[in-house]
Assembly symmetry: C2
Homo-oligomer: 187 residues x 2
Amino acid sequence: MARKKEYIEEEVIEKAMVLFWRNGYEATSVRMLEKAMGINQFSIYSSFGSKQGLFLKSIHCYEGYLQGMIEKLRNSTNGVEGIKTFFYDSINTPSDCSTPKGCLVTNTLNEFANSEDKLIKEQVILFTTAIKELFIEKLREGGEEDEELLIKQSNYLLIAKQGLSVAAKVASEKELSDYIEMTFRDF
Amino acid sequence: MARKKEYIEEEVIEKAMVLFWRNGYEATSVRMLEKAMGINQFSIYSSFGSKQGLFLKSIHCYEGYLQGMIEKLRNSTNGVEGIKTFFYDSINTPSDCSTPKGCLVTNTLNEFANSEDKLIKEQVILFTTAIKELFIEKLREGGEEDEELLIKQSNYLLIAKQGLSVAAKVASEKELSDYIEMTFRDF
DNA sequence: ATGTTTTCTAAGCCATCGCTTAGTTATATT
DNA sequence: AATATAACTAAGCGATGGCTTAGAAAACAT
């Protein structure tokens, strides 16, 4: 039989994810990736096929990284208050700076909105749609029954969340929490 | 004396601006720029010094491009309603697709938030700060007197505007106008 | 131990990157 | 017309981009 891999794919993907998250797709080179991931370019290409393949895996990994917050929201029983907590959770960066500020999905949406790359755009749209659905579910649980209003509100909250993700990269903690409070002021 | 330039700097900067606006800084190559601008690389470098120099000029050009809307807002006398109109104006893309959706300044903020490039970041921060000040001025004219609340509200509106700029790249017209209505719902 | 299979290292592939240079062409002065 | 100056064209610079390949090293089966 054959030699064993000296790395765990899930582990090196996480390293790649952080790099893509911090710098974006274009500004992250395969040389940077191999250093951060601690493996040779050969291994990157044999495991992930291409830079794009690795990026898709990284986005998937990021979505897994968010799963805790999303589950917390899904299990919440206090309606819109759960969504507000989700907003606060999303700006609660670990203090060791191991993780960039902002949101990889929003970054990707921004970088690829005008791109030809269908695959990456599709992955991003799928995820944001799922979040929106979850918002609707929680708003409905919160007592809202008007379907049209539910759509309008979830739409509002999704875009508000995207604004928060952009602002999180440069704004102060107070500005961010003020923003969240204003966003949810009369729900 | 010497030969005359065969192009007008302001005109070719505008072409460059649209390209940067559509693709971002990293994804726009000097070869793409020379084709879009209709001038040789030599001319680009002799006029603008570097790709970064051209980008800075492009951002400046974009700010000029927004000047109409900003003046309209500055001259408005109906308080927060003027800001709301400014939001609507910003998503009113010319139907000929000559111009990308979204906002070059917000794109740049996103792309350069984690970059080392002080110059570009500074230019973006300066502009967004000016917009925020203008929001405060209009909110004050609208009758709000509480300084702390003014700061909170302008901060909210600035981040809301950034969310709108991201969403404008992918969302439908209805989603965008719904979002604006929700944003200004109880001002 | 030998053979087979897979992963490793490290060198290198070609295309493109931002940028520069050599040499020609156009303008204005003399 | 001759000259000086600056902008033009187009070729090419070294560095880096994504990706591949040749050959050594490691794991298992026989």
